[in-house]
């Protein structure tokens, strides 16, 4: 069951990511990125991270992607055009990414023995466990993030404002 779910949602992730790469209209890329993020939430659940699965759906596939689609529609972005610079990127991009993947996959397969496996329901981090660490041991970093978000809001408003 666990393996089947992993392959279904892992396959959806890879298909969505490839679709992001292949589509030429930004709105299609944005919608396939939503597929990737939602399937990643299911994978988080399989790994026993229930709070992060909810946060992934709310923050990423909800807030961040809504912001992306909003900006795409606001700027009325059309098909991307082919230009001179993209040729060099094609020549370097695909082999570079493939080499990076080969390196990472070799490293993971080399250490596949000691890494072990994940059993469904074997290890579950509840929201209580997470918040105990977050609000007791890491209270200062948590408060600093609120400052970061405040600065980000102010920066976004200042940047996007129409100048007179």
């Amino acid at each position: 069951m666990h393996l089947v779910l992993f392959f279904i949602f892992g396959g959806l992730c890879v298909a969505g990511a490839l679709n992001l790469l292949l589509q030429r209209h930004p709105i299609n890329s944005a919608l396939s990125l939503i597929v990737v993020m939602s399937s990643l939430a299911v994978l988080y659940l399989l790994l026993g991270a229930e709070f992060l699965a909810a946060a992934q759906v709310i923050v990423y596939s909800g807030a961040v992607m809504v912001l992306f689609t909003f900006v795409i529609m606001l700027l009325n972005a059309g098909l991307e055009e082919r230009t001179r610079g993209s040729k060099a990127a094609y020549i370097v991009g695909f082999p570079g990414a493939a080499a990076l993947f080969a390196l990472l996959a070799y490293m993971f397969l080399q250490n596949s023995g000691p890494l072990g496996g994940a059993r469904l329901g074997d290890y579950l981090v509840t929201t209580a466990d997470l918040s105990r660490v977050l609000f007791r041991d890491l209270l200062l970093p948590f408060e600093v993030t609120s400052l970061l978000i405040l600065v980000a809001i102010l920066g976004a408003v200042a940047l996007a404002r129409r100048e007179h």
């Binding site: 944005a30 993020m37 994978l43 991307e80 094609y90 993947f101 496996g117 997470l130 980000a152 129409r162």
Partner: protein, 101 residues
Amino acid sequence: MVVPIYYYLILSAILFCIGVAAFLIKRNIITVFMSIELMLNAVNLSFVAFANHWHQVSGQIFVFFVMVVAAAEAAVGLAIIIALFRARSTLNVDAVDLMKL
């Protein structure tokens, strides 16, 4: 039934490399920005997989902070894109080459 952890890590590597390829190949600045989000998500998956392997909460705490920073980054980045579009009225990254020699 047991799913080996390295399956998750290889899935994360696949997603990360697709993100790198999209970052290099795409010409639309919004799509380039979306591929950065894809790479962040891939790294988050490997954090959660390692958290499961070591039975530690800290991996998930890292993911939490990455999510917070990514949300802030998306807001600022999209504001920059809007400002850029106002100034140059294009979304093509090759057209924004004022700092190129």
